[in-house]
């Protein structure tokens, strides 16, 4: 490792290739703006107390608490305070994640999300930082990033750092810069908060390995769902160079788990797992293809999360689709819904969609859609059905299902009870019975339930301009049903 640092030191003088003399604020503005399309701003998955952090990252490089004032390029004079008591470093991580603020687009801000640099030698068509764009470029020095992170963190603005970068010179060089920054934070500043770093495709396995021991989460962006669209839109990137580090991280995590069983204090490797993201709507893949890709990433690569980002057209390239009505937010929303069904509800991709039915219903969420196609499995008896089946009822989530299972141990449940324990019945009522009774005399009929479900307005996190009105017809309305004529 010392060799590596030496190598980084040697290259330090070459970092300022742009001779970047901008103020910190200008740089921050440019480089956080450039990072905003990275969606995975979560700080979850790791529980680590301050003490654990100190024993995991501290005690190396021979620096005590006295050094912690170094490199605070943005920091104030710590004065009397830093002179005593500042021996233990700073920071912890909470498994549930903590949101510190919310930006104007309603997304959670939990990490300081920045690029090391927005200089990039690649020319990906969808990316604002591509080499052929004439935009302002900036480079952060590792010291600047470390200083910013520390100052924001101690004011409780952020939960940690999310560090990504454009590819400067080559992947290895970029990755070394990232490594240097994180090394500085962990070992010199004794920062034990959350760090998420992007793996640069094509970087050497050794760098990925070293950096993995310092960070909580690593992610390599898949960028686009299929190898073919990647080839079209990101000519410098290859599916293989993306999947190689992903596999390496996965194997590293698994090996590390074995080590931790034997040696409890073995250094942890990417303890928060890895994630990835892909752009939705820039290429012609169907939802079915995307969900299948996500499923295989979860199964074969054991990813923690796959993130989807609705395509925002920043470049107006002729290869890219023109968006007339803004980014495809509804599609992104449906994919996230399906993603949760895969991860927490025991669904499989082929249950939700098929070749014949390749895209999600615009009007109904994937779970309700599935239930309507499988009415033969309903109604579900709340007092007897297994957890897995209760979980498949539209309107009942992981929390409600858990509550039902626990509450029914103390006697059978009625609809009144369900309401009390917080199960929302608006949609569930068409699919469940309590002690053999439906809540209202409803019928298990696709058309009937569909119409009623559409009346229950779905809560979407944004406005959708799509009408949900139904053409009035004389023949399929309830009052004209056969049964009414006896």
């Amino acid at each position: 490792m010392n060799q590596l640092i030496g190598a980084v030191e040697a290259k330090k003088s070459q970092v300022n290739i742009l001779d970047d003399t901008r103020t910190l604020q200008e740089k921050l503005s440019i480089l956080s703006d450039a990072a905003k399309y990275d969606v995975a701003c979560t700080s979850s998955g790791v529980d680590r107390s301050g003490k654990e952090g100190a024993s995991r990252f501290g005690g190396e490089a021979g620096v005590g608490g006295s050094v912690s004032g170094i490199g605070r390029s943005t920091g104030g004079s710590r004065g009397s305070v830093s002179s005593f008591g500042r021996s233990t470093g700073m920071g912890n991580a909470v498994a549930s994640g903590i949101c510190h603020s919310f930006s104007a687009d309603g997304r959670c801000i939990s990490l300081l999300k920045i690029l090391m640099t927005n200089c990039c030698v690649y020319d990906c068509k969808y990316c604002r930082n591509r080499v052929s764009n004439d935009i302002e470029r900036a480079v952060f020095s590792p010291e600047e990033i470390a200083g910013l992170t520390m100052e924001f963190y101690r004011r409780n603005y952020i939960e940690g750092l999310f560090l990504s970068s454009g590819v400067i010179r080559n992947p290895d060089y970029t990755m070394e810069l990232l490594y240097r920054t994180i090394y500085l934070l962990r070992k010199v500043h004794h920062f034990y908060g959350y760090i998420h770093v992007k793996g640069i495709p094509g970087a050497s396995p050794r760098l990925i390995q070293e950096i993995g021991y310092l960070v909580d989460r690593m992610s390599v962006n898949l960028e686009l769902p299929t190898a073919q669209s990647l080839q079209e839109l990101a000519p410098n990137k290859h599916r293989k160079t993306i999947l190689t580090p992903m596999r390496q991280i996965q194997e590293g995590i698994n090996e590390n788990k074995q080590e931790l069983v034997v040696y409890r204090h073995a250094p942890k490797f990417v303890s928060g797992g890895q994630s990835t993201q892909m752009i939705i709507g820039a290429t012609p893949e169907s939802d079915y293809q995307i969900v299948q890709v996500a499923e295989s990433l979860y199964k074969k690569f054991q990813l923690k999360r796959v993130f989807y980002s609705a395509f925002v057209n920043v470049n107006e390239d002729k290869e890219l689709p023109a968006l007339t009505s803004g980014p495809p937010l509804l599609r992104e929303h449906r994919l996230y819904q399906a993603d949760f069904l895969l991860r927490f509800y025991g669904f499989e991709a082929k249950e939700l969609l098929s070749e014949k039915h390749p895209n999600f219903n615009v009007f109904l969420d994937p779970k309700a859609d599935w239930a309507l196609q499988h009415l033969e499995q309903f109604p579900v008896e709340i007092n007897r059905a297994p957890y897995e089946m209760i979980l498949r009822v539209p309107g009942i989530g992981v929390k409600s299902a858990g509550r039902i299972i626990r509450a029914r141990r103390n006697g059978s449940l009625t609809f009144e009870h369900l309401k009390k324990i917080g199960v929302v019945l608006k949609r569930a009522l068409y699919f469940i019975t309590c002690s053999g009774k439906m809540m209202y005399p409803t019928r298990i009929e696709e058309d009937y339930i569909t119409r009623n479900l559409l009346n229950v307005k779905e809560r979407l996190p944004f406005d959708v301009s799509g009408t949900t009105y139904r053409q009035l017809s004389l023949f399929d309305d309830v009052s004209f049903d056969d049964s009414n004529y006896g």
Binding site: G79, S80, V81, S82, R86, S87, G89, V94, H100, S101
Partner: protein, 289 residues
């Protein structure tokens, strides 16, 4: 049958003393209620009993409840008692009564069909969620002396639940969080523990979180021996006087700049933002200054 109404002080110790009194006098839970603070509307055919808060009795109740109901349930009760809801006393008392009567299987807090247990569970979640939110929404500003200072205005009395989190996070910082509504301070000294300080009463408040974590029976009051070495801007009956450090403004400015540029314009959605971060929090957050 006349009802007995116990009037307790609206603090956790008051409620627990009320529970003690109810069992001491062998009152039937069906005809007994706990009311907090002054009664507004007196009811006919009810007997009103004023309960004097007694810390020892409260400790006894806490201890025996831990033995009978387990630490998890008692932790839930502590969260519920920190709520600002008026019915918290009654909810907690009747939940305890249900638990001690043994009319349930498994975890008491899962017995959500019961209206009182249900209410307690709701209050608990409400307080827990607010405490969790404030783990993120607390904003420290650096004072001239290097102390980190923060003000919050929570609905519920959540400050005691923040101590452990922030002490673990910033072990090497002196910090101070002030609950503006209750004039309660959470004070942490670098390299040492934290304690709560109630301004009016001039006494330190019972420490909740520490004993909760370790499942210890006694509530040890922190800071008794360790007087703060640094001067905190807290003085009896005074608003804190604050001078910020020279760098403070610059860093706040940097943070606002970051917040602004990290938002995607095409996806702007102020409604969603407000849903996630309601206006009531924003008054004390530098994000919106």
């Amino acid at each position: 049958m006349t009802e007995t109404i116990l009037i307790c002080e609206p603090i956790p110790e008051g409620i627990l003393t009320g529970v003690y009194t109810a069992y001491e006098q062998k009152l039937s839970p069906n005809d007994t209620h706990i009311q907090l603070g002054e009664e507004e509307n007196y009811r006919l055919f009810s007997e009103y009993v004023q309960v004097e808060t007694d810390r020892e009795k409260a400790e006894k109740v806490d201890r025996s409840l831990r033995k009978r109901l387990g630490n998890y349930t008692v932790e839930c009760l502590w969260y519920a008692m920190a709520s600002a809801d008026k019915s918290r006393g009654d909810a907690v008392y009747h939940t305890v009564a249900r638990g001690l009567a043994g009319a349930y299987k498994g975890e008491l807090m899962d017995y959500l069909q019961d209206p009182y247990v249900n209410l307690t569970a709701k209050l608990r979640i409400n307080v827990w969620q607010e405490a969790h939110r404030f783990q993120g929404f607390v904003r420290f500003s650096e004072l001239e002396s290097g102390i980190l200072y923060s003000e919050i205005e929570p609905k519920n009395d959540i400050l005691p639940f923040l101590g452990e989190h922030f002490s673990d996070r910033f072990p090497g910082e002196h910090f101070l969080i002030r609950d503006k509504k209750r004039n309660l301070y959470l004070i942490h000294q670098a390299g040492r523990g934290y304690f709560l300080y109630q301004q009016e009463a001039g006494r330190e408040r019972t420490e909740v979180t520490e004993q909760k974590k370790q499942g210890r029976e006694n509530w040890s009051v922190h800071g008794g021996e360790q007087q703060p070495r640094v001067t905190y801007p807290v003085e009896e009956g005074q608003q804190p006087s604050l001078t910020y450090s020279s760098e403070e403004k610059k860093i706040q400015e940097l943070f606002r700049c970051f917040l602004h540029s990290v938002s995607i314009k095409e996806r702007e959605n102020k409604k969603l933002q407000q849903q996630m971060l309601p206006l009531r929090f924003r008054g004390n957050m530098v994000d919106f200054f």
